[in-house]
Structures are given as C-alpha cells and as structure tokens.
Symmetry: D3
Subunit: 255 residues, 6 copies
Amino acid sequence: MLSFGSRHLHPALGTMVERAALLGGLDGFSNVAAEEAVGRRAGGTMPHALMICFGRGEQEAAWRAFDEAVPDETPRVALVDTYSDEVDEALRATEAVDDLTGVRLDTTGSRRGDFRHIAREVRWTLDAHGHEDVDIFVSGGLGPRELRALRDVADGFGVGSYVSNADPLDFALDIVEVDGEPAAKRGKLTGRKAVYRTADGGHHIGLADRNAPTDAVELLEPLVRDGEVVRAFDFESAIERAAADAAEVGFGDEQ
Amino acid sequence: MLSFGSRHLHPALGTMVERAALLGGLDGFSNVAAEEAVGRRAGGTMPHALMICFGRGEQEAAWRAFDEAVPDETPRVALVDTYSDEVDEALRATEAVDDLTGVRLDTTGSRRGDFRHIAREVRWTLDAHGHEDVDIFVSGGLGPRELRALRDVADGFGVGSYVSNADPLDFALDIVEVDGEPAAKRGKLTGRKAVYRTADGGHHIGLADRNAPTDAVELLEPLVRDGEVVRAFDFESAIERAAADAAEVGFGDEQ
Amino acid sequence: MLSFGSRHLHPALGTMVERAALLGGLDGFSNVAAEEAVGRRAGGTMPHALMICFGRGEQEAAWRAFDEAVPDETPRVALVDTYSDEVDEALRATEAVDDLTGVRLDTTGSRRGDFRHIAREVRWTLDAHGHEDVDIFVSGGLGPRELRALRDVADGFGVGSYVSNADPLDFALDIVEVDGEPAAKRGKLTGRKAVYRTADGGHHIGLADRNAPTDAVELLEPLVRDGEVVRAFDFESAIERAAADAAEVGFGDEQ
Amino acid sequence: MLSFGSRHLHPALGTMVERAALLGGLDGFSNVAAEEAVGRRAGGTMPHALMICFGRGEQEAAWRAFDEAVPDETPRVALVDTYSDEVDEALRATEAVDDLTGVRLDTTGSRRGDFRHIAREVRWTLDAHGHEDVDIFVSGGLGPRELRALRDVADGFGVGSYVSNADPLDFALDIVEVDGEPAAKRGKLTGRKAVYRTADGGHHIGLADRNAPTDAVELLEPLVRDGEVVRAFDFESAIERAAADAAEVGFGDEQ
Amino acid sequence: MLSFGSRHLHPALGTMVERAALLGGLDGFSNVAAEEAVGRRAGGTMPHALMICFGRGEQEAAWRAFDEAVPDETPRVALVDTYSDEVDEALRATEAVDDLTGVRLDTTGSRRGDFRHIAREVRWTLDAHGHEDVDIFVSGGLGPRELRALRDVADGFGVGSYVSNADPLDFALDIVEVDGEPAAKRGKLTGRKAVYRTADGGHHIGLADRNAPTDAVELLEPLVRDGEVVRAFDFESAIERAAADAAEVGFGDEQ
Amino acid sequence: MLSFGSRHLHPALGTMVERAALLGGLDGFSNVAAEEAVGRRAGGTMPHALMICFGRGEQEAAWRAFDEAVPDETPRVALVDTYSDEVDEALRATEAVDDLTGVRLDTTGSRRGDFRHIAREVRWTLDAHGHEDVDIFVSGGLGPRELRALRDVADGFGVGSYVSNADPLDFALDIVEVDGEPAAKRGKLTGRKAVYRTADGGHHIGLADRNAPTDAVELLEPLVRDGEVVRAFDFESAIERAAADAAEVGFGDEQ
C-alpha cells in the first residue's frame, strides 16, 4: 500500500504526511521530496498525463516508452483506464510490454459502477489468457471500506486523501496543576495523570501519584524537559513500535 | 422511445406487451412477431452479439457490416459500449460510418458510475469534433426517473423491463347486485355503480341510479353484452384516446 | 398450501404458473385448466360469489347447498367472512354442516386489523365449543412473512399473487466464446463456464476447462443439443429434485 | 364530541377530568357522578355489556330492550359491532328499532383494518337502503389525527384516553424575587414577570416592572392573595373564555 | 432511590403514588402526607428555595443553616448546583459542613451537557481532595436509561415524573361468561380464564375449567366476593411479594 | 467574528489559515505570528490558563490583573466560565472591572446543555442589573448552524476548527489539450475551457474558442505565464473582491 495523497497538500506539509503515512503502517510513498527526510526511496506508477501525451489509440506506445525509459529495477505497472475499458487496455498492455509487472486501475467516477466487478473481470480475463502473474494495482478514493472489499481481487493499493486529508484529532493542552496543587477549569479533571496500557489491551488514566493498576505498563515518557530533548529515537524503530502497539490493542482487526 | 422488453416475457405474451406499450404512449417496439397484430413496423438497433462476433478491436468492421447489410431507410445507430469506452467507440464510429445517424449507449452496470455524465461526455466530445448531428440513444434499466434525468442529453430511449415487468394492477370482479337488489360481501360497497370524469379532471363513483355530478361525463360503456361484442374500435384510435385521456387528467406532468 | 393466483394472470400463462407453483413446493393448485398438464387434480374452497348469491343472513343455506352439491371426497371448508364476523360465522357453520372439515378466513382488508388475532380467536372459540377437529384455512395477500406469523394458528393456506405476480428473474443469454476462443462484451466474464454445487451447499462458477473444486458436483446438463432434446424428465421427479435441492442449500430455513 | 375516558381514572379524579374536558371544548361527558359538579347532564350510549347479556344472535332483542327502557328524550343509538360485522348489524338495527337516531361503531382493534372505510361502508349501505337520517357515531382510541380522518364520514365522536390520560404539563414554582430583589437558581430568569397576549395572537413574557409591548393585553390576574380568594368565576363562562382564547390564538386550526 | 414525583400530582393521589412507588421497588419517598398511610418516614434533601433565600454567594450560610436546624439522624446532603458549578459548590460544601454525608446534583437542563461527566468530575475532585466518603446523589428527569448510565458514578437517586406520570395501563372489565356459558364481544376470548406462572418464569392463560400446565402456579386469588373482602394483606409483605415476583420473572435484568 | 483556530494547525500553516480566514470574510484573527503577513493586528481575549493561575475563587483577581496589564485600547472582555456558572461569573466580572467591555462564554461541553439559553440568561441577568452595555462574546465549536442560532443573543463570535480544519476542496490539474488539439482521459471533458459569471449570478463553462453566453463576464485571468507573475494584487482588495463576489452569487443568504 502506497501513500499517494501528498499532492493534495501544501508543499510545506508534504514530507510530514509521508512520514506520518509510513508511521501509520503504509508500505511506501510517492513524494520524492520526502526521500531524504524519511530515509527511503519513493515509488509509484505512470500518470494519466503520460498516456494523454501519446494520445488516444497510442496506449501501446506510451507503455513501451515507459518500459524503455525507467531503470531495470522499477516495476512495470501499466495504467490501463485512460481511453478504453480496463479489460481492453489490460489485455493490450500484456501484449505491448514483455515482463509486465502489473496493471493499475484508477477508474474515473463516472465509469465506476462496481469497482470490485471491474477488478475481478480484469483478473478473470488476464487469467483466461494465461497472465496469472500480472498483478492488479488499484487506486482512487480508497478508504478502509474499499480496501476490505477489494483485497481479495487486488494485489496493491494507492491511498490518497483518506490519509492526507484525515480530520485533525482535537486535543488541547490544559493546566491541571499549579505549584503542585490540583487545578483545572470546569469540565477538566484536576491533577497530573499517568496513562497505562492494561493487560487486556485497553488503557487506564489515573492520578500520577496513585498506584498503577496491576500488570499495567505506564505509557508516558518525557521527550522534552525544560527545553532539552531528553529522549531520542529513530524513524524505523518508531514504525516498528507503532505496528507493535497497533497489534497489541487490536487496531485494524476485521470490523 | 422504443419498447425493448418483450424478450423478458413468455413468447405467448410478447405481442400483447408491445401492443400495450404503444397504447401507453411509447413510439415504437422491437418484437418483429408483433408487427402484424399492431399494424406497424418494428424497430431497433444492432445487438452486442453482432459486435462480439466480429471481436475485440474489430468494432469498425462490425459497424460497417451493419451499414452495408441493412436497407437504406434504416437509421445507422452504432452500439458503442462493447469493448472500449463509450467516448472512444463513439468517436471511432463517426469515422467508420458515413452518415451515421446516432450512437447507442447501453453501458453495463459495473461501468455505469454516472450514466448522465457518460452521455454528456459523449455529447461534448461529438460536438467538439463537429458531429452535432449524431444522435445519442440510451438504454438499459431505464424508468421514469432515469428518463427525466437523461432527457436533456439523450435523443432517444429504449425502455425494457419497466414496461414489460410492470406489476399487475390488482382488480377483482365483485357481485354487487343480485336480481336488482344491492348485495356485496363485507368490505365492498353494494349496488351497481357509474364512473364519471369530473370537470376538474378527477373522477367520481356513485350508484348508477342516482344523479350524475354536474358537468361530469360517464366513462363506462359496455363492450360485451350477453356474449356479443357491442362496441368495436381500432388500435390507432385507441392510442389517440389514451393520449388524450392522459393529457386531460394530467398524467405524466412533471413530478 | 394451495396456489390461488392463477386468476390474476393472462389465461395463456395459467397452466405454467400452476406448474411452477408445484415445482416451487406448494401442495396444490386451483386452476382446473391445468389439471391435464400437471397430472394432478385441482382443489379449493367455495367463493364469496356463492355466499352472496344466497344473500345476507342466508349463510347457512349457502354452506348446506355446497355440502349437498359436491362429491363426498371433497373437503367441507366453509367460507366464514362474508357478512358477519369470522367468529360468528365459524360457529354457525359448525352448526349448519355436519362433519365440517374446516373454515376459511379470507378477511377483507378494512376488517383485517390483526389477522393472527382473528385466527386465534376463531381457534379459541371453536375449541371452547368442542370443535377441535375443525381446521382453519387462511388466504388473502399472504407471503412468507404472513405464513410464518400464522402457521401456529392456521392449518392451511391459500397463496395467490405472491407466487403468480412474482418479479421475473432477470437473466440474459451472452456470447462468451466465438469459435472456441473466449469473448464477451464489457462487464461479462469471458469463456465457457461450469457451475458446481460445493460441499458446503454453496455454488462455484469457473471456466469449464479448468479443474472442478474438490468434492463439488457439476450442475449443468444439456437438455437440448443442436435442436434435439437429449434429456427427458417427468414432472413429479422434478418436484422431488427441487425439494431436495432446496433442502440441500438451506432454502426456506427460518429467517 | 363526548368525553368517554373517566372510567380509566381513579374515581377521586373522575369529576375533575369531565370538568377539564368540557373546559377544553368537548360537548358532553359520560360520568354521571360529575353531573352535580359541572351542572350539566351526562350522556352516552349503550355498552357492549348490554349486548352480551342478551347474547349472540339476539342483538335485535338488546336494541329493542334499550329502546323500551330509556326516556323518550334519549337518543336511540345502537351499538353495532358486538357479534357481527358493523354493516350487517347497522342494517339490522334500522329494522329492529323505529326512529333509530344512529349507530355506534366501536370496532375492536383486531377488526379495525381501515376504520374510515368501515364507517364509509356503513354510510353507503344505510344510504342505499334509504336511511340517510341515521347518524354514525364512532369511538375507540380516537385522537386528533383520527378525528380529522373521520369527520366527513361520522356525525359524532366518543373520546376517551386521549383526554383522560393526557400527559401532565410539567411546571414548577420558582423563587424569582426575594424581598423585591431579583433572584433565581441557575437556568431560571430572575425577577417578577408579566405575561401578555400580543396583537398577533402570540404571547410575550417580560419583567413586570418594564413597559408592556404595544397593543398587548396582560393575562395574569391574581386568584388568591394571602390565602383569600380575590376573584370568582363561574364554570360556563370559563368554557366560553377558553373557546374564545383558543380561537384567538388559532388553536385547532387545520394542521 | 427515593420517589420525588408526588408534587406533580393532584393531592388526592399523592399518597397512592408514594405507596405504588414503594410497592414497585423504590427505597423511600418524599411526601410527608403519605407517612401515615404507608407506615414509613418520608425522606429527602434541601430544596433550591432554601439556597435562594440565602442568596448568591451565600451558599455556605445556607448549608450551615440546614446542618444546624435538622435532627442529628438526618443525613447532611448539600444541594450543589444552585449558583455556581457543581464541582465548585461540592468542594465548598465539604469545607462548610463537617461530616457532610453527600452532595446532590439536580443540574438544570441548559447546563446538563453530559450529566455523567459532571457526576464523574465531582467524584474525581472530591476524591482528589480526600473526600472519598462523601456520597453523590443525583436527581432531575431520571428514568431507567439514565439510572443505568449513572449508577457507577452516583450513590443515590431521586426519581420523579418517570414514576408519578407513568402512562396508565390500559385495561378493561369484559363479560366473558353469562350464566356459566362462554360469551364475549368480537375480539375477546370467551370463557372464564385462569392465569398461571409457568416453571420458566413466564405465564400462561387458559380456560379455568381446563387442566393447568405442568408445574404451573395459579396466580389469581379472589380479594372481594359479593362485596365482601375475603383476603387481607399488609403493605410490607406486599412489597416483599412484588420484589420476589419481579426477581422470579427477571424484571429489571440488564437490557 | 474572530478566527481562533490557528492553534489546531502545524505552525507552518498558521499564517496561511489566518490569511484565508480574512479572505473568507472573518473580521479578525488571533495568531500574532500572522500580523506581518496580513498587515493587520491580531486580537483576542484572555485564556483559561490565566484564570487557573489565579485559582478557584480568585476570578476577580484574574480579571483585575488583565485589566491592569493590557493597553488602554484593548477591549476588556472577561472569560466567565472557568470555575463557577456563567451567570454568576458574569455578574461578578461587572463588579470587579470598571468599564467592562464584555464577557466571553466558552462553556465546556459537559455543561453546554443549551448554549443559547445560557447566553440568553446571561443577557437577561446583565440587563436586570443595568449592564445593557456589556457585550456577550461566545466561542467553542461554532459553525454556521450555531452562529445562526446565537446571533440574536451574542455580540461577537470566536470561530476555530470550522475554519482551520475545513475539508480540502478536491481538485486536480488535467491535460485537456495537446499541441492545440483537444485531449483528455475518460471522464474529463476535452479542450481548453472558459469560465463565465452569468447575469443571474450563476456560472457557465464552455470551450474557450466558442462564443461566450450573452451578458456573461469571463472569470479566468492568468496569474503566472511561463513562470512569470503577470498579475499582482494586494490583500485588502482581494478581501473586498471576495466579499463582492459572495454578495453577487448570494453566498451566505439565509438557509
């Protein structure tokens, strides 16, 4: 699963979103400007613009040009929804490019009556012609519901605005202690808190100076104290920790 | 608007449905077996079977074969949704057939994300290439709601199961008089009735031996009495009468 | 359960509907014109017309006339909703006809506030007067939901338009192979298929030239080949097969 | 419209409810114990108990007994839903009682599929037999919605629990002034108020020591001051005032 | 749980409602006029009127006045929602009154955004200041749903209109037997019935002269016969029996 | 109406959001970092943090400290929802600060049962004590619906996440022309377009080389051509233009 949504955002945030997408569990990203910051190579497939520049009826020429231009290690994924039907262009792409890695379906809304059926029909047709090894990559307006519906007929996904335009989490910094004494405005619980992961994968919040629940792990650790960074971590281990935490609390289990 | 639904029915009823469709206001029908009974010529366009017999990529050959085979007076309407996108095939059909009358869009469900947009895009593209005189004919699962939504972007319609599979009108013959005395089971109004068209386009039902409402026209006329047909009428005048009655009561006014 | 809906249909289809009703699992039918075709005797009870011809207050005379006129083997089922309340007429029918088989409730809509309560009250009243052996037969607008709601208070059912006016199953004949090569228009899966009953009571569709799933039974058998009937079957064994298939796939299990 | 709901209540409140029903606009009441308090005669029709004491099939005897027993000035309204259908019993009542005033339909729930249709069918049948002068009186679970639906087919109504079981109006006595100073708990507006009927039929609430709105009439008048009744009124003029106020603010206008 | 709703009712019914509330399972009541009839002492807490008479900012004076005026055995429950926030007044009440029993939250609607959060915040704040022994008592518009939502954060409840304004149970006295013969109007089951508690906690109704179900207990016992009271019982044992019956049939189990 | 939402965003975007808020019609903003970029002074009121630092019961001290610290031209707006009820603190603020400009209600969710009633009660109480000149300023989760509901009881608004977290408008750059020839992928209309404001306040999109509609104004003007800025504009005139355009198309009219 690749992050495709960086282009929807102000460039000042592009790198942050790719970094957040990887932390959140995606496998790759498409914004080349973020490569240095995250220490990984960007990926992706050809755009519709390439197809259009070659023109209607010249899809074979466009796919071959891509095949000739990109490095050997780049997967050959042909975009197959530009001018003709996906089934039609997919078949033609297998004939135009040797060693085709896969095809990408980014079907436009007005032709997307049943996206799952389109992907399944492409799969059926590729198989019927002996192309079981050509993967299907889908993109365009995908969120968790679509991913679940498509995952048995697709081999890869491009996810855009579901990640890049996610609603902000509403949070606030509140004063809950003044000179060691509990304090707070109406509606907020007073006093310094500790947050624990409980044994059943849930969490517990309590006053920091009370006892922790049995078998609970305290989660809060200071990152900055009096302006000094007191705890460093690297990006790759953060990804691993996020995945481990998600697994522990059952995030992403079938709904 | 042509009736396309006869094929959904048992052949024993095919002619009756075409007759009823014409009575109900459609302009034509497609079942050639009904021609003699209704006294009109059937019409229609080419089927997908013709396109498939020529095969993927051979659409031009199929359209030209149709153009060469049918009589001069038959409109040249090319089916343009078989293998490629409707916009793509529509453009190609204008190049393949001189004096093309129109194109038919019968877009399959899995590609019908926004049928109105597809029709509008075909119109826009035909116009952009100077084919303002090529008509757009649409079909496939159309009912009143779809017809209203498409009528400003389409020039003709094929209507199938909305007419041929219409729900039966539930009616029953009840005894309401025995030897001239009012009678009926529970739930039925006793006595012989008269039915009137009132001056405001509504109707009124009352006992036949009471006075009619002012300015009302009695609607019931015996067609058969004691087994003898006592009133004949011809099919074309029946169509006219149905249209006139529909207009009088406001049937089909914008909803 | 008897099929009562044949009268809603064009006579050309009456026999076909009765045949289909029996195939679908009903126990009997009412259209005498279908007797020869299906090789069974039609059944039914008296109509409201009979009651009305005798007139209000003369229900006893009507029931007795029926009792005297029909053959000995015909069940005596009195229609008890014509003029008075169902409970009232049911009690009176037990007094009017010796060896009454049952009563039929076909309660008209405007008096059908709670059909289950009416049937239960008739049952209670018959029992309270020692007529535990008089059956209750219900009819009028019944479908699966009503049958489930009534089956513990009724001994028999008449089902009409739910069977006779059932929506047509939409199906189409598609070209999926041309000269042995897979073919199809957009939206259809190419190639000749086989249909299998899988071990879990589901079904599987795959290309005919691929392997069948483990423990699956192929369902398609040619009935006509090149215009020749190649497989005959008789009606009664077809009914049995339909019932067996329904049982195997769990059709009709409690919902 | 008569109040029938007194029997649903504790006897200690019976008189109060009848009094409230008359104040609220009903034409009469049925609880004889309230006659003295309200200064009017109670009214009503025969109960089902009377019919049942005579027994099934003896409805004519019951109606005649009532006719013979009650004073001349009492309207002859026959209850016609006890054993047989309403249409059937209504016809029979017209034959059993000379100068029948009307019939009452109190159809039980399980037979009340469409009460309006039942009333209309009784009306149609009475008219068809020349009894246009026999009124139809309906009762049983009636509220404003039912009254509106039935008022063109019924001549009188009995209303029970809609009046007698009306939800209490939630009100509270609040301190809003202490020793002349505005006071109140949170959520209440401080200070002594005046309530005005405005010129458009609405109302306005403001501080009592501010100016009244233009053309407004102050509505509050002290009834008790320091334990002394300071304003007397009689019941009949209260009914008139309630009706006049309802008319002024448009209460009961078509909704 | 205390009954607070007596004030919503006509005084003639006040005692009956308190009696019914106790029978239905509440722990106490507030209407002192009912003390003699039910043989128990009324209970309650201070009203808003007391707080308002002392005035804004004088809450401490009001709570202390109550503390000084009431007998030693009366629980000290301070009303803490009159002028300031509940959390604020609760803290102040703990400082104003030694040995405070509890605080009452009767939060007015316009400030009741999330009553459970308010109660939880009061609990948290009292605990954070070492007042774990001060109870929280809640009131105001509470029904079963609110009680379930609040029961883990509140120690006591005041319930008003949910009990006092409960909808009447619709019941009627019907004639089902005349001189030993079954009788009834349409819609009613004829004959004298017996009511049984079945072994599974359900109930069964059958004709009194038929056999009881196995292991069933007959529930009906005559209280009055020919105008004579034939079975006496005392109030406290009635409460116990109601609780035992409720437990037996599972009334009040988590829904 | 002031923009309060900048704090929800990454600092890199703070200035852009304040700029957009002003362009969109708000009257002011609170992020001081944006002052230079937009050429206006930021505004706002005191935060809860100030109140909490002074502590529960010391609200008067906090308001007075603010009054003494800020420049004379700064409006004195007291935050009145921190510890006590809004009505209580509002009254106290009028006594603590001479020449109070207004009070701000930012009521926390758990106390916000009916925000309009709270504001109205504050207004009523201020008026009852002669403070008609003290304004009411509201904030906290406000959007168009809340603004419409509150605008007759509030004098000013703070709007946060409705502006700062607004969903991105989904747009894309598409190739519609290649070397002057119309081109586009499926689903897009080919060719270079012009956008017009029509005389009725709507808009029209058509091919750029066709005639404009009658009385229409073309809206697109190039800002950058071949990398050169070809049209400059200043911020204040952009605000005016946005307001004028909004008025012309009826944006913001009552819904």
